[in-house]
């Protein structure tokens, strides 16, 4: 079949780190081509190069057999390359028709030709079986409809290659079906699609071939029919992933942390639990159950309106995170970028940030001892970086999360609270975070892990609390716990023990 796109030997470095190292991608006419790889593998950089947002250091791009240079997003559009982003950006107060033809409205003389605009739009919408009038305000459409709109817009602008980045991440099951119909329609019209997704079932049901990148390098391209999920993951990770949850059962020690009847008005109430040395306590529940809010209040970010916290049996007063840190509590927040890191500052400064206020070295920072501290920990935690002075924002999500963990380990905590510790990071980095949690528990740290991923809760916890509507609804222990039990409790709020 005819080759539409050939990217060869693409290399790009940021801050001296190679994001892409001789990567290649070949897409044929009428195929849906999966681009696979862990976060930080270079997928998004490769797509940014294709859409003119980033210029490569080396390598060539051929489109329909012609060598092209894509220096700006305008170049990409002119060449017929369209990207449907994770975050959609139509203009909500304009109509469907106005959005589709934004910037290339049909005109008669100097005036807009509304009649023609609506006629063209109606034809286009019919072709894609899109049930909305051209005059509909875009703000009133669902996420899936907005996404369809973006695709239709791309096609109407004569896109010859469409890139979809995690297109199903915000869609319901029904909407996914609609999207897939659209993709099949595009395929029938011969428009090739580069499809990025972490969801295996989509890859296997929707795509024809897959290209895998790892650490910025080209690993291989294969027909999907010749692959299975295990082979694909092995290609992405570079090793088989048999032990993703390296949880070791150890005998927990004495109680380190106690929450007695914690409450915060209208947010959560009567939260009572204990955590022992070496124990991993999982807290499960749906979004909005009040789990993160409890963690924030324990840590002194928000005020408690009632209840008591004890560390090693002694009641402690926490009015500011500084108090929590002094008493040996650490919190890895769910939002890494907003609450966890100072993105523009170097790795080194981020790592020591929380331990500086409590170290005993007076008002000054000693560069030498800081460098030693940081080096000792980066080896243990295996952060992939060029050096400790590069800004944290230049790291991938998984490595950023490791910097946050390192920061808290340097405060020498007794209790470590992890709020969604693996959100938005790839399989390999996840496995390393689990390994680290296991090691820390073995060293006697008490760990509280808030997570919405049930496999992670089941795989890592010694004991599980389930929260709903700001209250603890149940406590579970034991190896025969199932996802269904937890989910039933989280939704129904049944009081099982």
């Amino acid at each position: 079949m005819e080759t539409v796109l050939a990217m060869n030997g693409i290399t790009k470095s940021f801050f001296g780190v190679k994001a892409l190292d001789g990567a290649s991608l070949e897409v044929r006419r009428g195929e849906v081509h999966a681009l696979m790889g862990e976060n930080g593998a270079g997928k998004s950089t490769l797509m940014k190069i294709l859409t003119g947002l980033v210029t490569p250091d080396e390598g060539s791009i051929e489109l329909f057999g012609e060598r092209v240079s894509i220096a700006t997003p305008q170049d990409a559009l002119r060449l017929g390359i369209a990207m449907i982003h994770q975050e959609l950006n139509p203009i909500p107060d304009m109509t469907v028709a106005e959005n589709i033809y934004l910037g290339r409205e049909p005109t008669r003389g100097p005036f807009l030709n509304r009649k023609q605009l609506h006629r063209q739009t109606r034809e286009l919408l019919e072709r894609f079986d899109f049930h909305a009038a051209p005059e509909t305000r875009v703000g009133s459409l669902s996420v899936a409809q907005k996404q369809m709109l973006e695709i239709i817009k791309a096609v109407s602008a004569e896109a010859r290659l469409i890139i979809m980045d995690e297109p199903t991440s915000a869609l319901s099951d029904g909407e996914v079906k609609t999207l897939f119909q659209t993709i099949r329609a595009l395929k029938g019209q011969g428009v090739p699609i580069i499809y990025i997704s972490h969801r295996m079932e989509e890859i296997f049901s929707m795509t024809d071939r897959a290209t895998v990148l790892r650490d910025g390098q080209y690993i291989g391209t294969a027909d999907i029919a010749a692959l299975d999920a295990d082979r694909l993951i092995a290609m992405m990770v570079g090793r088989p992933l048999e032990a993703i949850y390296p949880k070791e059962r150890i005998e927990p020690g004495e109680v380190v942390f106690e929450a007695n009847g914690l409450s915060r008005k209208t947010v959560f109430d009567d939260i009572t639990f204990r955590v022992r040395k070496g124990e991993i306590l999982g807290i499960a529940g749906l979004m909005g159950a009040g789990r993160s809010e409890v963690a924030r209040a324990i840590f002194g970010i928000d005020r408690l309106s009632g209840g008591e916290i004890r560390i090693d049996g002694r009641p402690v007063a926490v009015r500011h995170p500084a108090d929590a840190i002094r008493h040996g509590i650490a919190l890895v927040t769910e939002d890494r970028k907003e609450m966890g890191l100072v993105l523009c500052r170097p790795i080194r400064e981020n790592m020591t940030l929380a331990s500086l206020p409590i170290d005993a070295k007076g008002a000054f920072v000693s560069g030498r001892s800081e460098a030693g501290t940081v080096r000792g920990l980066t080896d243990k935690i295996r952060i992939k970086m060029r050096d400790v002075n590069q800004p944290v924002q230049s790291l991938s999500g998984g490595n950023q999360q490791k910097v946050v963990l390192a920061k808290w380990l340097l405060t020498k905590p007794k209790v470590l609270i992890l709020d969604e510790p693996t959100r938005g990071i790839d399989v390999g980095a996840k496995a390393e975070i689990y390994r680290l949690m296991s090691e820390l528990a073995k060293e006697g740290l008490a760990i509280i892990m808030i997570s919405s991923e049930l496999p992670e809760i089941l795989g890592m916890s010694d004991r599980v609390l389930v929260m709903a509507h700001g209250r603890i609804q149940g406590e579970f222990e034991g190896a025969h716990l199932t996802q269904e039990q937890i989910l039933a409790c989280a939704i129904g709020g049944s009081h099982s023990a």
């Binding site: 840590f299 970010i301 500011h320 995170p321 500084a322 929590a324 840190i325 002094r326 919190l331 927040t333 907003e338 609450m339 966890g340 890191l341 100072v342 993105l343 523009c344 500052r345 170097p346 080194r348 400064e349 940030l353 929380a354 500086l356 206020p357 409590i358 008002a363 000054f364 920072v365 560069g367 460098a371 050096d387 002075n389 590069q390 800004p391 920061k407 405060t411």
Partner: protein, 324 residues
């Protein structure tokens, strides 16, 4: 190699890696200006003139150093011109009472402006007033205080020791230049060697993450505005000493040159990124260009336009550097 690395670390433990090229780019602009002016003007590259330039920049230099701290936290201080006047009139009245020594005048003047700076910081940190607004308010309040204190009349100073601060020399070097150098060195230590300095960068880079990391963000902000107030007071006293009087209307518009120097020096107005060295180079660039244009007899109207173009140019360069 190893020694060289260690040496670099010693120079600037706060992270030389960031925007190194840009810093050197700025120094190149400064050198270029110096070379061009040396060629087109006979008087520029003389010892007397260079000392003259340094003396002229020292007041803006002290202000810009303080302003750098404020801008690094993501704030801004528009009140420094008024704080200069408050400090100047209090110091001038202290020495002209003849009961007080120059040292006492310095201390009282700087304490007053430092206190007012702290009030701005408290408004912004505790009462959540945007720094732009809080210091805009302080700008008029401070001016009012200075006018009220003097009844709107300048306070003439005769004290030789007070005049020495702004007019004296140590050997061939003007006293204000020495004071500027000492202040810059002290603030460099504060910024790059102390926890407080580290927290300034952190708070400016991400206030939430800093608070969660146990940093008392409010105290850092209030401290920074208070230090900036102290330094404005010092600059105000140097100015009063230069003109032998404490003028309630002195210092008007000085905040603009200070902010300009910080911005030319590459410090981000959003906070978190920037350097003291950049600010000092920014101060020198402004000073050299002002001096050069004077020597070349360029009209002061043109000078303003040229300065504006340089500020805009520096920010445009900064944006381009960030994009890649």
């Amino acid at each position: 190699m190893r020694n060289e690395l260690a040496f670099k670390r010693k120079l600037a433990p706060g992270g030389l890696s960031e925007g190194m090229l840009r810093k050197y780019g700025l120094i190149l602009i400064l050198l270029l200006a110096v070379v061009v002016l040396s060629i087109v003007s006979d008087t520029f590259l003389t010892f007397t003139n260079l000392m003259n330039v340094l003396r002229q920049v020292s007041i803006n230099g002290i202000l810009a150093v303080g302003m750098t701290l404020v801008i690094l936290t993501g704030g801004i201080d528009l009140s420094i011109g008024s704080l200069m006047a408050v400090s100047a009139v209090i110091a001038a009245s202290t020495v002209s009472d003849s009961s007080g020594a120059t040292i006492l005048a310095l201390v009282l003047g700087m304490l007053a402006s430092g206190f007012l700076g702290g009030v701005s910081g408290t408004m912004s940190a505790k009462l959540r007033v945007a720094p732009f607004v809080a210091t805009l308010a302080m700008m008029t309040i401070g001016r009012g205080i200075a006018l009220l204190y003097t009844n709107g009349r300048p306070i003439i100073v005769d004290s030789p020791s007070f005049k020495y601060l702004g007019q004296g020399y140590v050997g061939p070097i003007p006293v204000p230049v020495l004071i500027f150098v000492v202040i810059a060195a002290l603030v460099a230590v504060l910024l790059y060697r102390t926890k407080f300095g580290r927290y300034i960068f952190a708070v400016g880079g991400n206030e939430n993450a800093s608070r969660v990391s146990g940093i008392r963000v409010d105290r850092i902000k209030i401290g920074v505005y208070a230090i900036n107030g102290l330094l404005s007071g010092l600059a105000g006293i140097l100015l009063a000493s230069r003109i032998s009087s404490g003028q309630p209307n002195s210092g008007i518009g000085y905040e603009l040159d200070a902010i300009a120097a910080v911005v030319i020096g590459g410090t981000s107005l959003f906070g978190g990124r920037g350097s003291l060295l950049g600010t000092i180079v920014g101060v020198l660039i402004i000073g050299v260009i002002n001096n050069g244009l004077n020597l070349l007899d360029v009209s002061s109207y043109w000078q303003q336009i040229i300065k504006g173009v340089i500020i805009a140019g520096a920010v445009i360069l900064d944006q381009r550097a960030k994009r890649d």
